[in-house]
Symmetry: D3
Subunit: 132 residues, 6 copies
């Protein structure tokens, strides 16, 4: 099994609902350092997993829709706790849509899975992994 | 598959028995930077894997039993090589016991696995992964 | 010259005023991983720069006043761009006050300087350095 | 499942063929920080995955054949795009050969898999994982 | 004293002349992870050291002239050992020229110094620091 | 001002005397990830600060005298708190002696200073800086 991973980041505000979140129920924010990992069984004819330039661009584009925003005001997330775990899935799902739409190149159709990890600090991170 | 990981550290002395350990047969020590990863298939009703506050507290508590100790003198480890790999399993098993005892919250009963990684330096680390 | 540094983090929301900030004029957020460095010419009688336990506690306490907050609503920061640079100075100044108040121990009175660095992502950080 | 990982690095020149590589079609270079991970189900009688000293030596030896070289001129790689992904597999395969040859010790025969990751920068890395 | 630092990277091939370089006399390559630090005594009216967006762009532009190149064939470096130390100075000097040319904004004229660090691996880095 | 830094590590046991150390008065241990930074005003004729190969070897040799030891039993440290700060100075002083003895090469005589940093965990480190 092969993989390549590219890293970018996003800076957002949000708040949580539920006692489990304690002080994080207040409006606060986070920098998420985001790692997007693309997996496949065999390399493509160019000897790569996926075009790393396109992977970087598409990750940046997906994050661009979230960057410098208050997630509490994004209609798509109304009534949703935008936890680190949830955002990892949100970003992974958007990347998979783009793979299927051909935006990571024809070769990307050979990908078998995507994993997205969000580092919210030097002591905590979350990830979500799915098949393509 | 979702996961969240929390990080803490522990500083211990110990020695090893067996020629394979070379100079590490002498009493020496290590800082282990410890990553505890909790996995589950679906998020709980709060949209999280586990209460990250409780996960952090329980990891700290498990490490507290080892911190600033000479592991050669801990009765539980008598006659055992407390290798980085072994300690990864020891910590993972203690965390799983606490999950079963309800100390990570009711939601934690939906966890499917735990992985513990111990970084002993910038060039070496070990991990142990188990089902819950 | 000796120094010791301790690390913690804080998660806040805020917005900026001024065209130079581009999209960061919107309400967004950040995790700041904060390094507080304490300097002195000679070690104290215990052979240390400062009690690392107290340094860690006081940094945590200073950050606690900011953590999980929207800085736009903190009265002390009204009308102020709470840039990473500005926050580095704010935190350094609070730490120096605590040194002078004796909260880092008697030995801390021999400190000569403090430097605070805030990492806002894996590709950007800021710092502020001052004499004691 | 247990694992240990050791880290080293290698500095090489190379070029790529194929439009997908854009400016990387020119002769350029990279530092690859290389993580070699060894996996096994149960620990050996010494309570370890593999002799970490031998693992470090063999990784260094495998990288030594590549270090400070222009991969375009290495006969073994003639006509091959020496992508990060490809090199991860190359290094993993060489390590597995050495395990089978007994160079990581008798205990290493209980290993179940090897994963090699190559970090080409702070924002991109690749890996290859295989059974033993 | 305030500072902000931005990070980017560059991938080059080169070789060295001189016995001190040992095997690095052969054509090889490196990824340099580059940190550009900008210093000033007081913050500007926007409460910042320099426009971090412009700083990032100009660093990228300076590195763009080197990226994916064989430095042995860059006329400007003919007969020069393009050591990590030398490249740190080269990049710092180009950034200072751009500050003086106004490309980092009018506010950047208040900068007092620049420091550039190049990480060539996880175990070695170099830096160069100069006044503006 | 130029500098180059090389990194290695050392694993030791020790204990401290003094109430300020709390539980660290017990015999425990640490991994210290050690950064040795060498400074000079101008580069030497080879365009470097110092031979990085020799710098790496000499750092390893200095650390070798401490590695896998219980510092409480090292005669040189009898009655001394071997704090992270103290060890940073100890290592810096040994490196300077080796510079003066010519073990880092003739060019090293142009060095102006040395700084040694010891990372004892992901949240704490110490450094000592001196002129040559």
């Amino acid at each position: 099994m092969f993989s390549i991973t590219v890293r970018d980041h996003v800076m957002v505000a949000h708040s949580f609902r539920g006692e489990v979140f304690g002080p994080a129920q207040r409006l606060h924010g986070a920098t998420f350092v985001v790692d997007a990992r693309f997996k496949r069984t065999d390399l493509d004819p160019d000897n790569i997993v996926v075009d790393i330039g396109l992977a970087t661009e598409e990750l940046r584009s997906v994050l661009g829709a979230l960057n410098y925003r208050n997630l509490d005001e994004v209609p798509e997330f109304a009534g949703i706790n935008t936890s680190t775990e949830f955002l990892a899935k949100h970003i992974a799902d958007r990347l998979v849509e783009r793979v299927h739409a051909g935006r990571l190149g024809e070769g990307a159709k050979g990908l078998s899975g995507v994993e997205v990890s969000l580092h919210e600090s030097h002591v905590a991170w979350a990830s979500y992994e799915r098949a393509l």
